[in-house]
Structures are given as structure tokens and as C-alpha cells.
Assembly symmetry: C2
Homo-oligomer: 358 residues x 2
Amino acid sequence: MRKVVLAVVAVSSALIMGAGGKSEDVKLLEEARKYFEPLPKVVDNPENPVTPEKVKLGKMLYYDPRLSKSGLISCNTCHNLATYGVDNLPTSVGHRWQIGPRNAPTTLNAALHVAQFWDGRAKDVEEQAKGPILNPIEMAMDSPEEVVKRLRSIPEYVKLFREAFPNEREPLTYENVAKAIAAFERTLLTPSRFDKFLKGDLNALTREEKEGLRLFIEIGCASCHNGPAVGGRMLTKFGVVEAYWEATREYVTLEKPTMPMDVGRFAVTHRKEDLYVFKVPSLRNITRTYPYFHDGSVWNLEDAVQVMAKVQLGRELSEDQLRKIVAFLKALEGEIPKHALEVPVLPPSTPETFKPEL
Amino acid sequence: MRKVVLAVVAVSSALIMGAGGKSEDVKLLEEARKYFEPLPKVVDNPENPVTPEKVKLGKMLYYDPRLSKSGLISCNTCHNLATYGVDNLPTSVGHRWQIGPRNAPTTLNAALHVAQFWDGRAKDVEEQAKGPILNPIEMAMDSPEEVVKRLRSIPEYVKLFREAFPNEREPLTYENVAKAIAAFERTLLTPSRFDKFLKGDLNALTREEKEGLRLFIEIGCASCHNGPAVGGRMLTKFGVVEAYWEATREYVTLEKPTMPMDVGRFAVTHRKEDLYVFKVPSLRNITRTYPYFHDGSVWNLEDAVQVMAKVQLGRELSEDQLRKIVAFLKALEGEIPKHALEVPVLPPSTPETFKPEL
């Protein structure tokens, strides 16, 4: 037995410390670890601990269209887990087919972000979850009280809230609707080959992907897109070197972009320095979350990367650089956790449940 | 070993042939078997054999919103498997929030029906599946060719069609889109406690449910609602004794019923005898597929049963009869097959894939 173990140690040392290409890989890994971390299993929140009961309830609420006025739109309508937590539309469709102003960001890995929404106006997924349900152009519920009233008319939900929030006198509150959904979202992490690499498996990425990773760091992408989510850690101006809408214009395939000059975080703070400031999105699963940017204006990942190089870093990437960086980005495609893809059977309404308004 | 087997036979004979209440139950079972059958595992179609490859592909297509012009509406939008294959709306919402004229029937157990749609205008689920995708107020695709072109731009679909239709020169056709979806639907069967009863387990139903079943047969409900789906076997006039819209009016909770006097199958055949003729719906999972009737005008099952007694059989049920019949109907609530609730991760679009039109 001891011999076998020693042999394995010897082989893995050879893999990491070996000559030529291998030692380059070790250096790359060391460099990468300065910017990135593997995904955790769960993004816990001491103020809203992730429990199985809360996750179960949260998943049901996430899939339940009765959280919308029409009874048709659920969280999963725009953050469809079959398509990596997005709707793959430029901007989303809400109540009575109203078109929203910004692209739906993925719920996958979102709990890792420093703040929620493109302009960071919610501090965490708990606060975020309260927004779309009441937004008149999204799920359009009239008030938090209406949401609670509707859920309270469904005995199975009353029971599930009691189980998910066992020490509370009144567990079925709007606050807890959001907490349950957020607890579910805190489990939506998608480990990929890049995580294997970060954990020390130098062969988890191909040669081209590693070159892409090196370029991603060298060129400066990683100065904003870093951390476990490869982004989501800060807000910054979109269009440092030149106006983003000038750069995206040539790639826009839609007839009418919905909001050509979105002021970004400025609309929240009214501070001059927040003009055109947006959250740096996570690049995990970026191959699946097209179209790109806050306005969903650009459909192809190659184009989006080229735009970013131009407007943030003031450079044009060669075809070779572009190909390698995109290869690296593809390696960020991860696995959606199985429990998230098991659709819950929703409890039936009762005669007391509100009727949908179309 | 032999002894154990004999003992089991003896016990089960005692259960079936036993004295008192038991023999009544045996008579009820015998009577019930004249009208009903347990659900099969799969509803096969010799012209479209159900294979694992076809079911896998069909499920992906069922969940894929790219089968609609907007890229937002999938089969599962109106036939949501989280809510027993329906949307629980009076009538459905389609492209650009257009409201359809009739209530979305469940896809569960639908493959058993003698024909599809409320007016029976499609002969089977294969023919049915071709309808909504092209219907301008539903999924609104411009033509079968557009659907095929869109899917052909996604390499994983090309591969999956090849696997599902291995002996065809061109497997990716609109015909096969429908065949794959239909093959998936042919597996959507929901066995319930009633099936256990029909198979001989006399204790599978409660006393009240059995009394409801007896009434269901005696009163005449079973003369239309029969077969393995407890309905779906014939088309008949809705409103034999009196006009249905007179009877439903008092239960209607919506401000504006969408189509107060739907002519039913007459619109298809233009024959006088088809005026107000509709398919007899399956009553399996009827507790979950509210609101009721082709116009979704009645929300409560008790009300719907009372309306049916009145307009089809010319009688008013006592509270006791109503309670028992509804108890029996609740026992028809079955289990949605697990594979149907496992959401497929959908393959990504490519630059060649059509862009959604909102």
C-alpha cells in the first residue's frame, strides 16, 4: 500500500513541478489564484442561513407563477434555469408584454455578487428578490400584502413557511418570501473545469484555454472580472475609454435597442461619478447568457469581448487573442445543480386564492 | 416458500370476497371495471413508436421557448408541468400577450384521448403538437420552415434528431418536431389511487370516495367520463338539457368571459349537429386543472360538477352527493412522472440562430 501511495505522490509532483510546459502551468495557476477562487458549495448568509426547508420552499416560490398578478410569470420565466438562469432576450418581457429596460442577469452564482441588479441598488439576493414581484412592468403584484394574502390562501404554503421559519410567530411574510427565494439562489452555484484548475488540476484546462486565461489576466480583464464569480465584485463605468454605445452600435442586431444611453447607477445616486456605472457581471456561464451587456445589445461573445477590450482597455484584440480568451471563457461553463432542475409540483390554489388578472 | 404464497392468496381472497362491506366493494369494483381501466405505462403509437431518444428530445422541445417567435413561450408555458400540465388561467396568454379563446387542456394523459383540442380537430398528439407553434396568437412561428431552420442552427439538436429518428435521411423536419414532442407526451401518465382500486386494491379508496364513485356511475357521469382517462373518449354537446352559458353564468368570476357562446366543433365541421359539441375532458387531476370548461369560466370544482349535473343530466345534486362525487374526483389526482419534472438543460443558440422577435 505504502508503495502505491508514494508512487501517486511522485506522479502528481511530476505533474505540478515537471519540466517545460508544466512549470509554466504552475506559474499560471499561482497567478490565477491571485485573482480567482473556486466556487463555494453554498453562499451562506448569517442573517438568512441556508437550510434545506428554506431552499425547498424557495425553489417552489421561484417556479410559482402565482407570484405575479397574471398568474403566468414566475422568477423562472426570465431567469429560466433550463437556459442558465436567463431568458436569452435583449431585455425581458413582463406583465402584459411590457418590455423592460435592462437584460435579465442570471441567478446562477449571483449570490456571490457585491450587490444586485445592474446598478447595484439591492445589497443582496434577499433584497433583490423583493423587487421584480412588485415591479409593475415585471410581475406586477399590487403590494407585499397581496403576495402574502395569496400565499396564505394555500394551506401547503402556510405549512412550508412554518417549517422554513420555525421560530417565527408569523412565518408567512413578504420578507420571508424573499428570504426563501434567496436561500434557494444561494445554492445556485455552477462549478466548472476552471474550478478544477484553481484547485490544482493543471490538466483541467486545454492549452488554448490556459493561453486565454493568461491573456485574460495580462490584458487586464481580470482587474475587474475576478473573485469566485469571475466578476460581480464591483461597479465601474462602462465605457472608460470611449462611449459604450458607440462601440456596441456596430454589433447591434435589433432594430430598436430599448435604452441606447442607460445612465446606469447615476439613476440611483444622482452622483456625477456614477454616470454609466454598472455592476461588472460575472463571466461564469457567459457562453450561455447571451445577449450581452445591460441592454442585451450584442449577441456574439467574440463581439462582446472585442467591445470590452476597446471601451474599457483601449485596445483591439488580434483574432488569435480573441479566440484564446473566448476559449477560456467557455471553460467557465459549469454544471447547474441537479436539485435546481427538479421542478417542484406546486400546491393547488383554493377558492380563497386571488384570481389572475390578465 | 409455497406456504407463504398460499397464505398471501388466502388473505387477498379474504379482502375481495369477505363479508359485509367488502362484498359491496367487490360489486362496486366490478361495476367500475365496466367503465374504467387503469392507466397504461405509456400510450404507444405504432406510427410513432415511443423510444427513449425521442422522449428525451421531445422533452427538450417541450421546454424550449425557442419554438416561439419571441423566444419566450414554450409548450410548458401554457402546459406547465409544475401545475399538472396547465396554466390555471381561464384561457391562455400567447405571443404579445394575446388572449386565446379557450382554456388550455392538460397534456397529462392527453395521449389517451380520441382526438385533440376541445373541438377534436386534431386526431392525435402528433397532429396537435403542430398547431400551437404556428398559431399566431400562441407561439406565433411564421412557418414550419422557420422552426426547422432555427433548430438546424443548433448543432446539439441536429445530433439529437439524428439519434431520435435514426433511419431517416433528413431527421430534422417539422413533422419530427411534432413526433418527438408527442412521444414525450405519450409518457405523461399519472397513476392514482383510483388505478390501485381498479387493479383490485379495495382499500385504495376511502368509504366516501367509493360512495362518490358509485354515485358517479349511477347518476350518469360515467356514461361520458369513462375509459382509462375518465373522459377524453368522445365528443358531445355541452348543454344537453339547457344552454351551458346560462348555467355557468352564476359561477363566473371573471369580468369578461372571453367567448360566452363558443360554437364548439361546429366551427370545424359546419354541421348543425356539431353546434356546442366539445370533447369530454379527462377528469384525471381535475382538482389541479382549474378553472373549468372550454372557457375556463368556473373556478370551483363543486360548482363545475353541479353545472354538469344540471346541463347534461337535468338534475341538481344534493350537498351530500356533491361532496362524495368531489371526494371521488380528488382520488383521481395522480403522480406526475419524475422524468417529466427534470428540466433539460437546453443547448445554446449559435450566431446562425434566429433572433427573438418581441
